[in-house]
Every structure is written in C-alpha cells, then in structure tokens.
Assembly symmetry: C2
C-alpha cells in the first residue's frame, strides 16, 4: 500500500466565498458564507411536528403540574384551576433545586457545588395549539411580565447570581412539551457567555466610556442593512456575527441594563416587536424550531465585584434551529453560518412589510 500525496490541491473547488467575522458582543468568531447564501427555502426539511392536546400544561390539567407560584387569572377563579392566561409552576424535572445548602467543594482538581437554584416553567397560554406570536400584544406583554416577576423573586435570594430566561419551541430546539412555554433558571454562578459579554463591554467602556450595545444599536441603525425592524423603543437586528441562519437580536434602543427593571410600557413595546419578529420567522421559515434567551445584567461581574449598570444592556436573542451543530463547532467554539445576516434581514423585512400594509402589526 502506497502513500500518494500530491503537492497541491485542485484549487477550483476551494473558491473563497466566506468571511470570518468577530462577534463584537462576546469576542467569538463565525465563518459566514458571503456568496450563494442559503435562502429560507433551502432549510425546507426542518419543521415542527405537533401532537394534538390536551397536555399537562393545558387548562383543566392544572393538577398535573406542581402548584402554581404565579398566575394571571380572572378574579373569580381559584389557584390551580382554569381561568388563567399565564401560569408559572416549578419545573417538575428541575435541573436545580433550592432546598439545599450551597456547598462549594474542591477535591484535588475537581471543583463542584451543590446543584442549588430555582427552575420554573412559564405556561404562556392555556391554549395547547397557540404559537406565542398568535397571542395578542397585551397577552405577550403579560408573559414578559411573568418572566420579569419570577426573575425578580429569584434574584431576591442572595445565593442566585444570574437568572436565565429561555424558550425552546419545537422538539429539535429541545422542547419536551409542545404547549407554548418558557423556562426560568436561577443560578448560583454567572454563566460564561454572560461573563464574555461583560468582558467585551468593559473593554469598550474603558476605551470609549460608552455602552457597547448602545454603540452597536446606533451603528446598525445608521447602516440599515441588518435591521429587521425598528420601533420607537426597540430594534430587531440580524447580528453582524450571527452564529445561526436567521438569528435575530431584539435590543432596547436606549440603555437598559437589567430586564427586571424594565417598565410596563417598555415590556409592552417589547411584546409588540417580539410578536412581529416571531411572526416573520414563522412565515419565512414555516414555523421553524427556535430558542430564545433573554440576556441580562448579572449580580456580579468577572473578578467577583458587583456588576455595574453601564456594563450590560439587556436584550433577547432568537436562534432558529435550522442547521445541526457539528464537530467543527464543538471542537472550536466557532460557527459556520450559511446565510449572511444582511440577506436574512432582507428576507425578514420583505416578509414583514406586507404584514404591516394589511395592518396586522
């Protein structure tokens, strides 16, 4: 058996059609296809398959969940019975629990900590079949208010350093229940992704005195090509270094540090743009599986000091789950994105304009 090694590869197959982009928010890199970007129809096989209800999250099945910790319900209704629009319950299969001492242990090279924290589920609607973007703006605003209320309760516990609010829609996106819901996990450690964002924000603030995301928002509004939608209070951006096709970040236009401090009016504005963006993604990508995460200011910053309101600007990140994360991403922490965000923004704008014309926004 011989080794037959040729000096040079055939270069015609290696045309350079991609670009490395550094994510200004966290310092990570993505490789973005700059030619022949994948269009929505190229992801045609990723669809949410839905089973009919009722399920444990449906109205009338309240006894199948742990007792509610928060509900928005009609005055004549009683807890853990029908009559609610949004309902929050402890997660029956919690990743972390609150009934333990927070022990931090070290065993030679191996550090651990008791799995302390809180893990709750926000059931966003009593209707099994509703998609979050089908709900009214007022209803979505109350969903956001429920996220906020429970995050605030969790942050009242001094052991909790960060609250991660996230939504999984579709089994491909990790949802074990199809009924529209989100999850809230209070953690005793600040997540590494949040730390990375703070480190980048700190470097920018040291250099310029300004908030990094405020500057990004201003710059994107001036350039326009990655703007999906702009309202009075918010802007939806296909971020410069999008890790995933059709990734969208929704950011308050003015500096807002902490999601739990957002006013009722701001949450209403958020509900409006969130409904529209999710509706646009549903139309463009035919009800794709997705995750969204609300990224907000942690209690402490890297190094252990209290975080400063200038060094975080809360926002919501939506990632449609159209591509598989594979060995390259798991080895490097870099991402390969086949759809340039400029094209994604254009597609979504094209979908959203007719919706506005018929007055559905």
């Amino acid at each position: 058996m011989n080794s037959c090694s040729k000096p040079a590869p055939n270069q015609e197959h290696l045309a350079s059609v991609s670009e490395f982009r550094r994510d200004p928010l966290n310092g990570g890199w993505v490789i973005i296809a700059t030619e022949r970007g994948k269009r929505p129809s190229d992801f045609g096989s990723v669809r949410n398959e839905r089973k009919p209800g009722p399920c444990v999250f449906c109205s009338g099945h309240e006894w199948e969940t742990p007792p509610e910790v928060l509900a928005f319900r009609s005055p004549e209704s009683t807890p853990d019975a029908p009559g609610w629009t949004v309902r929050v319950v402890p997660n029956k299969y919690a990743a972390v629990g609150i009934n333990a001492r927070l022990d931090r242990n070290m065993d030679n090279l191996f550090d651990s900590m008791t799995g302390i924290g809180m893990h709750e589920v926000v059931i966003e609607t009593p209707d099994h079949d509703a998609n979050l973007c089908d709900l009214s703006v007022d209803h979505i605003a109350s969903v956001l208010a429920a996220y906020q209320d429970r995050a605030r309760v969790m942050m009242d516990d001094v052991r909790i350093e960060y609250v991660q609010i996230f939504k999984n829609w579709g089994s491909v996106a990790g949802a074990s229940q199809e009924h529209s819901h989100a999850q809230i996990i209070g953690l005793p450690i600040v997540p590494r992704f949040v730390n990375e964002q703070i480190q980048c924000a700190q470097a920018h603030r040291t250099a310029t005195g300004r908030c990094l995301l405020c500057d990004i928002v201003r710059e994107e509004l001036a350039r326009k090509d990655r703007i999906v939608k702009a309202t009075t209070d918010f802007v939806a951006i296909a971020p410069y270094a999008s890790r995933f096709p059709f990734e969208v970040h929704i950011c308050p236009r003015r500096h807002e540090s902490d999601f739990i401090d957002a006013s009722e009016e701001l949450l209403h504005g958020m509900a409006r743009i969130l409904k529209e963006v999710l509706f646009g993604l549903r139309i463009a990508l035919i009800d794709p599986p997705f995750n969204f995460m609300i990224q907000t200011r942690p209690r402490v910053a890297p190094g252990g000091r209290w975080s400063h309101p200038d060094e975080f600007h809360w926002h919501l990140e939506i990632i449609p789950r159209l591509t598989q994360v594979a060995g390259f991403e798991w080895g490097t922490g870099f991402y390969i994105n086949p759809t340039p965000p400029e094209q994604a923004a254009q597609f979504l704008r094209d979908v959203l304009i007719p919706i506005q014309l018929v007055g559905q926004s």
Copy 2:
C-alpha cells in the same frame, strides 16, 4: 385579571438531585444529575438511519469528488480511481478556501478576516456501509495517519494557526454524507475553546509546574471510577465535567503536546483504543450519532506568543449526540447532563469486558 403570586413554591418537586461541576480543562460548568441518571435505554429514540450506497465517497465514484490530495492505495492503482483504503480530497463545499490574501479588516465595531483556510475530507474506507469501528486496527491507524499527514501539510502554511480535525457520524450529528469520513479545517485563528484550554493549562503550570492533563490522567487512573479503558499508552475517560451523556476523552498517558508529532506506534495504540471505545458506544447506545474532535497544540497561545509544548496535551473528545442543546445552553454556555460520567464509565466498562473476554479487542 389578577396577579396571584404565592410566597413559596411547593418544594417537594424541587429536590436537589444535581451538582454543578467545573471543567478543569476549560473552566466551564456543567449541571450533572446525580440521582436517577439516564441509562443508555433512556435515549432509545436516537438512532442513525442509513440510506444504502453507492455515494460520492464510494469506490468507483472518485470522479465525483475533487481530485485526491492524499490516498493510501495499492501500488498498481492510479490516483482518483479504485484501489484505495483511505482517500483525502478537498471539500467540494468548503467553509474556507486557500486562494485569497489574508486580509484583516476593521469597520468601526465590526472586525472581519477573509475566509482563508483549508477544508478537506478524509474518506475513511471505500465501503459505504462500514462504521469506523468495523475497520481493522491497522486500517484505523492509517486513517489517523491520514489526519496527521494533512494536518502537517496545513500547518506548513504560515497563515494557518490551528488545524481542527473532526468527525460527524449520523445526520443528527451534522453529517451530510453517511459514508464514514472525517473533516480537517486549517484556520487562521486559534479557536476559543483551544484558547480556554490553554489558559487553564497555563494557570495550572504556573501554580504547579506540571501539565494539567497529565495530572488529570494520573488522578483519574488512581480513582478508577471514570476510567472506561486503559491501555499501555492511552486512557479513555468519562470526563469529570462531561457536557453530554457518555462523553469520552481519549488521552495519551504520557505528555504528548502535538498530534502531528505522534509516532506511528502511538497512532497504532490510539487506533486500538479508539476502535474499542467506539465499539462500546455502538453496543451500549445502538449506533448513536456522535462527533469526535482531536484537540491539539495551536501555533500561537493567547496573547500572540508561540505556544509552549508543556501547555497542551493532545487528546480526542467523543460526544454522542443523544440530547438536544436548548435555550439554557445557548444562553449560558453551561450544559445540563442527565447521565453522571461515573455511571457512563460503568456502563461502558460493562459492555467492553465481555468483548475482551471473547478476544475481540
């Protein structure tokens, strides 16, 4: 509509059955279920569905790929024709290409770089239906030698700072072709995950004067409970802070910095343990989708100086893809792993022992 917020959640559903563990290799955290860990049969629905061949990677279809850059083939055969056992070709759909100037650009907040690099495919067998672990130890050793040969060629280009070798097996793991293959991407930037490992290794070396992974290997061998398999030259470990159920790392027992410097004898030892571990995973999890990645020493370390041979210890990381990565992971960079590595190691040992008894190892 009323807000009905109760003072305390029902705690019985929040029993603390998990533990936060810090990954000594990279500083990340995982949440590991320490009670009622998921057993292999709990992941029953994740299977590789395979379509019959032939495909573009099959023997007799060489004209459907770009011309080969390396092949191990019989002396009487000719390039790009049958007669090979392992064949390397440029990736037809390369994420990066080598025919461009390496331009580094800055446009206000937005840094970019031309998508320069090399992207090749290692076709590991001419047989469409073979699983890597079906091949002989000699054949697997020649697959590893092909990885190494091409990684060396890529590192000869001064623009390349790191070579990521990875394998995707099964569509769920991101494989677009079912025929057994791996990919090699030469990158002009050191991946963030590699930088994180170097930073942890540097801190350990500064504190102790020793290699971090050497110490981990020694410690795991002494404890035994996370050892899947140990041979003269290698150890297969279910790592302390496994991100995924049944994650396995295969590490050289003695300090080996760079995969491209591994001796032929060492690659043979690697082939032997890799075959056995992959075979064990196939039996225990019924041919699961998986990724593996070879993590090795980069050209430069964080800060821009040359990397030092003491601060990296190459190894291979195998991650079966049994669970979905969801909003929590995308928001935090933390992982929730339902199977403690101690249990995973026990399951895999239980599977591997009978194989040894009948002499198949």
